[in-house]
């Protein structure tokens, strides 16, 4: 399953909600304001390190650029919209 997260981890529980149901090994794509979960050195980085150990975590490059987020933390893979489409080819998607 591919889980889509588009809300800031500092304001919304949507990522935590998703993690209650997502089985280990599932894919999680951070896009729109979900990007902020992948920024290095934040108050959620330690939590996110645990998430990247259990899930395949991606961040959408176009939304990173728009927000001035030029790098993501270790364990997160940057992909573009073509990569987003590729993930959807592989799995059903849940939008949180």
């Amino acid at each position: 399953m591919l889980h889509l997260i588009n809300k800031s981890p500092f304001e919304s529980m949507s990522l935590e909600d998703c993690l209650k149901y997502a089985n280990k090994g599932a894919s999680i794509l951070l896009y729109e304001d979900g990007i902020y979960a992948a920024m290095p050195g934040t108050a959620v980085s330690e939590r996110m390190a645990g998430v990247t150990a259990d899930y395949k975590v991606y961040a959408l490059k176009e939304d990173m650029m728009l927000r001035g987020v030029d790098k993501v933390m270790d364990g997160v893979t940057e992909i573009d919209y073509a990569g987003f489409v590729g993930l959807v080819e592989e799995s059903k998607t849940a939008s949180w």
Binding site: L4, N6, Y31, D63, V85, E89, T93, S95
Partner: protein
Amino acid sequence: MKFGLLITEGPYQHEASDSAYQFAKAALAKGHEILRIFFYSDGVLNSTKLMDPQADDRHIQKQWTELSTSNNIDVIVCVAAAKRRGINDDVIADGFKIGGLGMLTELAIEADRLVEFRA
């Protein structure tokens, strides 16, 4: 693959319309078919031809119209959601059609993948 898109947020207010548009372009570029783009909830507001953004900003309705007409994609605005938000035949732009909610169920039955762009 046969894709279906569901968009439930209005233009400019939320990034959902922009993301869905970029996703649709990327899916077409990879050779996928988009069976239908369905606008529900505030998503119906994407369809108004009265939209008149600043000159230096993107024009979200025109983006959809261009995508729809040049790729022959079925772009449906839910009639029930549209009525309560003041969208009707008087304001709907070329490339959009007002349709029943059943067309969303049909899309879910037909599409290999349904992707929802929401708040």
